[in-house]
């Protein structure tokens, strides 16, 4: 498979990234190379193979439903650039 420039533009949008034309050119080229390389996986027939999402087979890891103190709001907000009235602030969203 190969990746087209239009696909790169679409994927960039999905990933919330913005590129100049020059960057777009570069990423299209590099991604195309990488995708051609990873396409070697298609040499393998994996019809009867189960996918492995977790390498160590553990299950049912839970927490008890016990309340612990939350973090001070000051600390919660300390790395935010825009804040107001104890809230994080973002550009106006028109619903």
């Amino acid at each position: 498979m190969s990746i087209t420039k239009d696909e790169v533009i679409h994927v960039a949008k999905l990933a919330r990234l913005k590129f100049t034309d020059e960057e777009l050119e570069m990423y299209s080229h590099q991604l195309d190379n990488i995708i051609k390389y990873v396409d070697k996986l298609n040499e393998l027939n994996t019809d009867d193979v189960e996918p492995t999402a977790h390498i160590v087979p553990i299950s049912n890891v839970f927490r008890e439903d016990e309340v612990m103190p939350s973090m001070d709001r000051e600390k919660i907000l300390m790395n935010a650039k825009e804040k107001e009235d104890g809230c994080f602030k973002v550009p106006k969203i028109i619903e």
Binding site: V38, L44, P51, M78
Partner: protein
């Protein structure tokens, strides 16, 4: 011998016998950092004030008779592990001024034992890379030859140990990021079994592959540090139960008679440097001379590991790195039109090239219509690789081979060609794919540059890996030190 040249267990003896204080040790290392750091550029932050305070606390612990193996020992932490109230950047412009309000579990563990953090190490941005050239702040140099890379992504961690800026460091390893720089810098580095060490507080790159591990000056130190960081953490659902943890120092034995050591014929194919090949072949002879049984094995799917790795790790990364939008923390753009534009500009400004490349690849691999062709396919290949190893481990106890196909390469040599860079991880990646423990230790020099030997064991069988490594270290007696070639010194 200078204090900064000592190993953990040697420093520990001095501290225990009160021949030196933790403050003395810390000052000596801070001094050493000032001396070599301008040449090596291994660190993003030097935490002098914090270190001196911690050293005083360590001295109090020692006076109270509460000394343990790591009390008063200077450590450097890779800058993708959260440190409370101390900047944690991931070597990214995105997190240039991010100050976590909490400690990673490993950081907390080390702190409780009285270890003294003297700095935070440089890395490839968000741990993506094999040369530490992808840092947004600086390129770390290899102490053996300052015109060469230290490997990556834990290049700062490896170089700082090699340059004696600390007694040990912590790195993280997603596809070789501890073992490959350890190999290139001539130190010992270990990626434990996936799940043995808590990932809580490690800024995620690829969650199903990431694992924290030690970089040390010898195998004994590796076992000491592993003792400190391994074990169950209720904050990490993928960390294993308490039963799995052992006292790893118990495995430091020179006797490996009868241990079955496998080497995969696939290791010795195209792309392997002759110098590296020779070192590995003589390493096998050393094992043989120690009474181990050497067996050739086959890992037929090895050739597909790198492709599967780049799909899985990039897909997970694309999701893990989606949270950096500038709202709650991190870089935020100043010029944008609306909310969506703010996301786009902030992210495009905050992330470097390699990170963006992987986000793009990962987003593509997960996007509608491609999931089965890429992500799910890669997870299936993961199953095949896992089974390859399971089959191999029916006949052998450990698998040895080169850690990296080459010794340290020149700075700038591979930056323009991502695929060539990715090939640096060809021997380490399969181990992450299968979640196995892997250790790299120096086994010789090739053109005055260290060569690393990788030893891989079964899941949670760090013991036998350490046993083999310890016996090899004693027999090999590698004791060359970095020359800071090309430096002012």
């Amino acid at each position: 011998m200078e204090l900064h040249e000592l190993k953990i267990h040697e420093l520990h003896e001095l501290l225990k016998n009160k021949e030196v204080s933790a403050v003395d040790v810390t000052k000596a290392y801070l001094e050493r950092i000032k001396e070599v750091e301008p040449q090596v550029d291994a660190l993003i932050s030097i935490t002098e004030e914090y270190a001196l305070k911690k050293a005083e606390e360590a001295d109090k612990m020692i006076q109270d008779g509460n000394i343990n193996d790591l009390t008063g020992i200077p450590v450097i932490i890779k800058d993708n592990m959260c440190t409370e109230n101390i900047r944690t950047t991931c070597a990214s412009k995105m997190l240039e001024d991010f100050v976590p309000p909490y400690n990673a579990t490993v950081v907390e563990n080390l702190s409780n034992l009285g270890a003294v953090m003297v700095g935070k190490a440089n890395l490839d941005e968000f741990a993506m890379g094999s040369s530490t050239e992808n840092s947004a702040f600086k390129t770390t140099k290899n102490p053996w030859d300052l015109s060469r890379v230290p490997g990556g992504s834990s290049g700062g961690s490896a170089a700082s140990v090699a340059a004696d800026e600390c007694a040990f460091s912590l790195g993280s390893d997603t596809g070789g990021s501890i073992r490959q720089p350890a190999s290139l810098c001539g130190v010992v580095g270990m990626k434990p079994t996936y799940g043995l060490v808590s990932r809580y507080g490690l800024v995620a790159f690829a969650s199903s592959l990431d694992q924290i591990g030690p970089l040390t000056k010898d195998v004994t130190d590796c076992a000491i540090v592993l003792n400190a960081i391994a074990g169950h953490d209720p904050k990490d659902s993928t960390s294993v139960d308490k039963m799995r943890k052992k006292d790893y120092k118990e495995f430091l034995k020179e006797d490996i008679k009868g241990i079955r050591i496998g080497y995969a014929k696939e290791f010795f194919g195209e792309g392997l440097d002759d110098g590296v090949r020779e070192s590995i072949e003589s390493s096998l002879k050393i094992f043989e001379s120690l009474g181990a049984e050497i067996k050739e094995i086959s890992l037929p799917y090895l050739d597909y590991a790198l492709a599967a790795y780049y799909i899985v790790s990039s897909a997970e990364a694309s999701s893990n790195l989606a949270r950096y939008d500038g709202i709650r923390y991190g870089h935020v753009a100043t010029n944008y039109e609306d909310l969506i534009d703010m996301y786009m500009v902030s992210r495009s400004e905050g992330f470097g090239k390699e990170v963006k490349r992987r986000i793009m690849l990962g987003t593509y691999a997960l996007s509608s219509g491609y999931y089965d062709a890429y992500y799910n396919k890669a997870l299936k290949v993961r199953t095949l690789i896992k089974k390859d190893y399971e089959k191999a481990f029916e006949d052998v106890d450990v698998i040895v081979g080169p850690t990296s196909p080459t010794t340290a390469f020149k700075i700038g040599e591979r930056v323009e060609d991502p695929l060539a860079m990715y090939l640096a991880d060809v021997y380490t990646v399969p181990v992450n794919i299968a979640g196995l423990p892997g250790l790299s230790l120096p086994c010789g020099l090739s053109n005055d540059l260290p060569v690393g030997l990788q030893i891989v064991g079964r899941h949670f069988d760090e013991g036998i890996v350490l046993n083999a490594a310890y016996a090899f270290e004693k027999a090999c007696n590698f004791n060359a030190k970095p020359s800071f070639k090309g430096g002012a010194k």
